[in-house]
Symmetry: C2
Subunit: 396 residues, 2 copies
Amino acid sequence: MGTIIKELTKVEDAKILLLDSISSLSATELIPLIDCIDRVLASPITAKRDVPHYRRAAMDGYAVQSADIIGASVTNPVMLGLSDDAEQSTCTRVHTGSNVPDSADAVVMIEDTTPIGDMVEIRTQVHPNKHIGCIGEDMTKGELILEAGHLLRPCDVAVIASLGLSEVEVYRKPVVAVIPTGDEVVPRTTSEIPPPGKVLETNGLMVGLYVEKWGGKARYCDIVPDKPKLIEDAIQSNLDADMIILCGGTSVGERDHVPAVVDSLGDILVHGVGLSPGKPTALGIIDNIPVVCMPGYPVAGLVGLFAFARPALRKVGNIPDISDTIIKARMSGKINSKEGYMTYARVILEGNIAHPLMTSGSGVLSSVAKANGFVIIPENVEGYEEGQDVDVVLIE
Amino acid sequence: MGTIIKELTKVEDAKILLLDSISSLSATELIPLIDCIDRVLASPITAKRDVPHYRRAAMDGYAVQSADIIGASVTNPVMLGLSDDAEQSTCTRVHTGSNVPDSADAVVMIEDTTPIGDMVEIRTQVHPNKHIGCIGEDMTKGELILEAGHLLRPCDVAVIASLGLSEVEVYRKPVVAVIPTGDEVVPRTTSEIPPPGKVLETNGLMVGLYVEKWGGKARYCDIVPDKPKLIEDAIQSNLDADMIILCGGTSVGERDHVPAVVDSLGDILVHGVGLSPGKPTALGIIDNIPVVCMPGYPVAGLVGLFAFARPALRKVGNIPDISDTIIKARMSGKINSKEGYMTYARVILEGNIAHPLMTSGSGVLSSVAKANGFVIIPENVEGYEEGQDVDVVLIE
């Protein structure tokens, strides 16, 4: 028999209890630039040299000494010799990105010039440095370019590559052991329909795929029956992971042993949260490893995963908190909530209309396949009416 | 000498011209469930069987014949024999998810019962089907569960797995040939600082990484010098790809041959768009393959990539249009725009304040590393003032 849920902890309080007990990983690894998208920088990127490292023409045209063409205009053009190395009053053809010769201090745009034999007619005057990208204009040697903790995007990688780096130091991905539990759960490798009373394992698969999507590395563990000793063994053999997620066995029935086992090995911080669906979620710590115990009912498990496992994974892995995609919408019907519970109501978003999904319960996972968003109703709000404007969090 | 930009096409018009000329891929592949996140379903998923495939107890308790306990209450409990196969007036212990015996038509919650020897005291009456998940309650045999074209999420995969499927048919990922061009561009493998006038290749890397992030498969091609014949050869040898992106050589200078070469092999639909930065972007079609020619200036290229290459890639690959993450913010300073240009202004978002990024031009890629968002200013708006509320599109 599991522990009894005496009182419910508010979602926000439960999350803080869990996050406050988590230490972030410090282990890092060097990886090639091409593999570093969505990884987290572990050490800052500083410019080891100036970019550009030469005076770069910013336009197609002629590099000149600005002093040579003072007063030049359409009606009073100046003729310059065309040469790369003559001593004075000459100009040099340059293209965008070309090196500007030391003898020049500005570039005249091609539109303001006409080559005539060995000479070039210049029809405008320019200030010194006009159309020249100075040394270090993009990045100056020693400048901090990206801070540690930054989540790497393709555009960052281009900047890092322009500094001549081919590898970056990132935090190691957190390894998350995913342990499905339940006497009724059978492996997905079964090719026939399981006998009555048995269901295919799907929660662990879903959790593992979300873990990978959110930046972790999933370790898919075998299904554990509802036996305290076996649950204990499964947890013990995964204490080398950075986080453990158990699916099922978190309620208060005869077969619900998970929270009690976690408590015997470490500490249960929370058992029972004001979350609907998701009330039997339990959160604990064993040997400094966060342990999230998700309800076995798939939708309740999914909501618990979003509410607790995702922020926990991010804290473990030093992964910045990425905003959910939120769409403003108007309810096409009423949605209810339970007082004291933060309610995740599934909706179908069509354009900017959110249709409540009528569903018989948190066991009906297909309701999530049909839904594309949650409307999250705070504890102190009693549902939303038809016509009300709401924020829909996309289920991604 | 490249083609001349005579007039600018509006961004929206240019996008429509490009998208209208694109045929989506029809090739599909069967892949294991575990690999299908962010892939696009090519054929609908229909339930091949009922889920659940047996009458499932929705609560821990006792399965009963509801007729046997009519009138049962706390003050007037009914005693039932505890047996699995007796003929009448018995009940069976069930757990959430258990098979409900054929002899029963409802489940009484454990809280409303007390086992006394071989008998069970039942203290409530129940309706038929109470706390029973009927056969097909979650999914009915033959029911359409997910439509073709759906972008697969972990929760969808769990639903598909619960139907006993281990593979899904998805659209093949579009192969995108990424061709960097430019006499000044040298390979990143160079370990020393390149000589003055030469720059490391970074645009192709950035493009390839975005292609992969957005659901395509990048083919990284060698750098091509600014010679029409070599550009033509590079394009010809990639006409087996599903899309081609060229970086650089799109302007109107002596070395800008890309749009003319594309036009000689197929059709240039657009050269020059009202996009800032990104004006020299060119869009074309060769042998039914969309060809996006991005400016070589990295920020202009990035903006062209977001504005054109991303929607084109999605259309080619049947990938649903995913909303950008948009954050409401207030400008901490003024940002300018050019009339007639859709302007992508880089901002640094701190909380809900957007700081305009002062920058010397579209050649300065580090400005994007510093920025985390774009404020997109429409053609008919003349910039935004300090204090103005704006939508910031996160650069992800």
